[in-house]
């Protein structure tokens, strides 16, 4: 079976003026000196367009930290890619926004840490909330698609209703409420971030009521915390099935967390063509089909829907990237997840560490 890549996630830099405690970026980040140059990205976008990739997600770190962002957007557009900017907003002003839109930027996803300034700044480890509010106003005034992203966790989930009201005020067309996914810094901080079961159940009701109320006005996407799920998420819609990610130093990965998996060599876009990497590299083929699957996945009906879950999570929680995702209630290693949840639901707040800036 042949897979067609549909989306390219371009992590332009790991530099970021914020220090979000839930950041999914890897603990080991690439420094500025290792970053791909403008010409490297231009070549990558061109190849992506030729391969039939449709969506370009410009992210990071903070993509606005790249001085050549406008140029990159223009190149994406020339390569027929649809460009999305995933941003904290820090680094935007009216002039830069107009330049970006003029260069072909089609969608801005702006992240907020909370609806209230004090906790928002606390989670970001930076005073950025007030600035983000001004940025939201600027986006609303322009003809560009606008999504608000809010990452939710134990410390803000109880304010979800207020957060949805807040998102409605920003004038965005979409709201993505993402429960923290436990990778990178978030994995490091997970015991402080995991919501309680009670919080989660309540939040689902809040989301359902809000969806009903805001129908036709604000689309709400809700990313479930998979530690609480019965079955795992179909991570990336399958390893090497639809998406590829390029990290700031040019390494090409099937997802943003795959660097944690030992024994896999991720090819660099500076050295190899995207086409070869997608079609032939051992890393992209490693978990592509079902041949790697152990029981219970191998004989489970759901394997074509969830692909046995997330490989990175299997490694992080079970120490084996080729195990059934431990969040699956059928997984032999599921007890590891239950144990964490028990601790989390037993009380005990924990401290967290802030994401650092690789400079």
């Amino acid at each position: 079976m042949k897979y067609t890549p549909r989306a390219l996630i371009a992590e332009l830099t790991h530099r970021c003026p914020l220090h979000c405690v839930y950041c999914s970026n890897p603990l080991e980040m690439q420094r500025r000196s290792e970053e791909l140059c403008t010409a490297d990205w231009l070549s990558i976008f061109q190849q992506a367009g030729e391969m039939g990739i449709l969506q370009l997600h410009l992210t990071g770190g903070e993509p606005l930290s790249r001085a050549d962002l406008t140029e990159l957007v223009r190149a994406g557009r020339e390569a027929q890619l649809y460009s999305n900017l995933i941003t904290s907003g820090v680094g935007l002003d009216e002039r830069r926004m107009d330049e970006l839109i003029g260069a072909g930027l089609e969608h801005i996803q702006l992240s907020f840490q909370d609806s209230e300034e004090v906790p928002a700044n606390e989670f970001a480890g930076t005073r950025s909330h007030a600035l983000k509010l001004r940025i939201a106003g600027m986006i609303r005034e322009r003809r560009v698609a606008f999504t608000v992203n809010m990452v939710v966790h134990r410390r803000n989930l109880d304010r979800l209703k207020e957060m949805i009201d807040f998102a409605e005020q920003t004038g965005a067309q979409r709201l993505e409420i993402a429960n923290v996914q436990y990778y990178g810094w978030a994995f490091r901080n997970r015991e402080a971030l995991l919501p309680t079961r009670q919080q989660l159940e309540h939040s689902i009701e809040v989301v359902e009521a809000a969806r009903e109320r805001l129908k036709g006005k604000l689309r709400i996407d809700f990313v479930f915390p998979d530690y609480y799920a019965k079955y795992p998420k179909p991570c990336m819609n399958g390893w090497g099935h639809q998406q590829m990610l390029i990290d700031p130093a040019g390494r090409v990965l099937p997802c943003h967390a795959a660097m944690v998996i030992p024994g896999l060599e991720f090819p660099n876009a500076r050295k190899r063509s995207l086409h070869w990497i997608w079609e032939d590299s051992p890393a992209f083929n490693r978990f592509r089909d079902e041949s790697w699957m152990p029981e219970p996945c191998r004989s489970c009906d759901r394997r074509t829907r969830d692909f046995g879950g997330c490989r990175c999570q299997a490694f992080l929680l079970a120490g084996d990237a080729a195990a059934t995702d431990p969040v699956c209630t059928l997984a032999p290693t599921h007890a590891a997840v239950e144990e964490i949840l028990q601790r989390v639901n037993g009380g005990a707040e924990r401290n967290w560490v802030y994401r650092i800036d690789p400079s």
Partner: protein, 324 residues
């Protein structure tokens, strides 16, 4: 496909191959409405409209089977066939398919009375379903009776994701035990049946699928939440649709026609691209329909209007289209 009745007698193997081809070609799982359902993209209102309208169809199935039984002179066949009536009506102790359909409709938020009263069923659905009864009733198809059983429940229909709830927990209304393998399946094997079968079976199958599709085409026109038809009202006619910010068509002439949107891409089939292209922020809805009717002279003008209005309504529900 050439109508089977115009052809000479077919060799059994060829007949079987042709009959088997009709299903994959025309089965309603290929219908855009069903595809949206499987993708979990229907609104609650659309799902309700589907359940309500389809209930009418469910409710006549035992009547159809009773007609078939009444036409057969073969007692073994009648014995086998009457199981279907029980499957649908229940046996008094266990609920049958109709009861389960009501439960499914209830799961979408309708109440029993609303469903069984048959109020609010679309005219198109009403005629299509009655057409199905007529088809069963016509003596010409008598020996093709087994063919009518192709009415297909399997896989597709019940595996719908009812509007994703907050937890992305797919609500999966299932009818449970429903299909017991029928002894006289689908009639695709003209096993020892009379010669006419070879002539009629294919035509009957095609007719049946046409009926099913017209039923779906009718229910697709239901706007979300209202349970009513959405013919272009006078007010709608003058609205000027255009793509919402951040939504655009991909470059023309590529391998596929796509509408690129922030969440990904929507695949456009057939004339859909041309319809979306006409949403230029200048033309009114009425103007768009007129232009399409001018271009596609071989299609019924009314069909064009229905299809175009339905497509645009779906895109608007999806937030992809706005009124300028």
């Amino acid at each position: 496909m050439t109508p089977v009745q115009d052809q000479q007698r077919l060799a059994p193997a060829e007949l079987e191959a042709r009959l088997r081809a009709i299903g994959p070609e025309r089965y309603h799982h290929r219908h855009p409405f069903h595809q949206l359902m499987h993708e979990g993209k229907l609104t609650r209102g659309q799902l309700q409209a589907w359940a309500l309208n389809r209930y009418y169809y469910q409710s006549i199935i035992p009547i159809k089977d009773a007609i078939i039984v009444s036409r057969s002179g073969d007692s073994a066949f009648r014995r086998a066939w009457r199981k279907r009536i029980i499957d649908h009506d229940g046996d008094g102790a266990h609920p049958g398919g109709i009861e389960k359909w009501i439960a499914l409709a209830e799961a979408t938020g309708l109440d029993r009375e609303q469903v069984t009263s048959q109020r609010g069923i679309l005219a198109g659905v009403y005629y299509a379903v009655n057409g199905y009864l007529d088809l069963a009733d016509r003596a010409a198809y008598r020996s093709a009776a087994p063919v009518l059983s192709v009415v297909k429940w399997r896989a597709g229909l019940f595996r719908c994701t009812a509007y994703p709830s907050a937890g992305r927990r797919a609500v999966r209304p299932r009818l449970g035990h429903r299909t017991r393998p029928h002894t006289h399946r689908a009639g695709t094997r003209a096993r020892g049946t009379a010669r006419q079968v070879r002539y009629f079976v294919g035509a009957a199958r095609c007719a049946l699928f046409r009926i099913c599709l017209s039923r779906l085409a009718a229910s697709r026109r239901v706007p979300p939440g209202s349970g009513e038809r959405d013919e272009m009202s006078a007010m709608e006619r003058n609205r000027v649709p255009r793509l919402a910010p951040g939504c655009r068509l991909n470059a023309a002439g590529g391998p596929e026609d796509l509408l690129l949107i922030p969440e990904g891409a929507l695949r456009l089939k057939g004339p859909a691209r041309a319809i979306v292209e006409l949403c230029d922020g200048e033309r009114t809805l009425a103007g768009i329909v007129e232009e399409l009717q001018r271009r596609y002279t071989s299609a019924q003008p009314a069909t064009i209007e229905t299809e175009a209005v339905a497509l645009l309504a779906r895109l608007r529900d999806r937030g992809v289209l706005e009124y300028a």
